[in-house]
Symmetry: C2
Subunit: 141 residues, 2 copies
DNA sequence: GTTTGTGCAAAGCATTTGCAGCTGG
DNA sequence: CCAGCTGCAAATGCTTTGCACAAAC
């Protein structure tokens, strides 16, 4: 709980820093994002936020998510099937495993793969600006 | 030219095999796909196909692409920004580099990365069914 | 002749936007 | 106060679909 309000605090601070007004709707969304351990989509975030602040509209959820994304506070993922899903940015970069059957998202991290990517791009005359790596998987029996 | 009609031939064969009728519109689309070296989207494919067969509609392009995808004849890619882009399936599996500035697509292949992916999934109790790896890059100076 | 494919226009879906009113600083 | 938000509803962009006609086999 301490952690959670810390994160919310950091987020509101980020809003303030960006010269952006701190409204009831935005606070609600930030709280929801802070406590989310899954990777919810906009509709899901909207539903959760409405429980804290019934006046939030889906349009505002989208607008706020875009602002937060620009500020680097959240990441937007466009996995296969359905709409975008969001997560709060955390320290370490990571990629995702998606459980095909359940839709569950598992995070992982591989420096080796990262290095190989850079290497491949370099050999072809490119610099990697960002990448997308998703493993669509099924649980082993 | 021989190669190209070979590929078209293989594709029509694939249609026949799937018990699907071979129509003028589908032949046009197949020809366009066979000669495409880039990764065109549906609208672009529609425009090219219309040059061969003016009666093709965009709806049919989409419908045919879905059939071809199910038959494993083409692959659909959903890169960031804009709609889906298509390419004919070729022997070797590969991933993509996307030039952020030009939209150009470069293919590459890395067994090492592939192996690492399997390894990571296995350790977490998963089998990789398929994956998506895209490097969004900028040309080095 | 059936059965399947086609064009057209309308519908779907996720997301964005214009606008008149509300509200934070 | 007044710029910056907000909800609402309408608009967007890509893709799919219902339907009556056309064309494969």
């Amino acid at each position: 709980m301490g952690d959670e309000s810390d994160r919310t605090g950091k987020m509101t601070a980020a809003l303030r820093k960006a010269g952006i007004r701190v409204t009831r709707q935005r606070i609600a969304l930030l709280a929801v994002l802070a406590e989310a351990v899954d990777h919810p989509d906009a509709v899901e975030l909207h539903e959760r936020a409405k429980r804290l602040e019934p006046t939030v509209s889906l349009a505002t959820v989208y607008r706020t998510l875009s602002v937060l994304e620009e500020e680097g506070v959240v990441h937007r993922h466009s996995f296969q099937g359905g709409g975008a899903r969001f997560e709060t940015t955390h320290e370490d970069h990571h990629d995702h495993i998606l459980d095909i059957d359940t839709g569950e998202v598992i995070e992982f991290q591989s420096n080796k793969i990262e290095q190989l990517q850079e290497e491949i791009a370099r050999e072809l005359g490119y610099d990697v600006v960002h990448h997308r790596l998703e493993l669509y998987c099924r649980k082993k029996l």
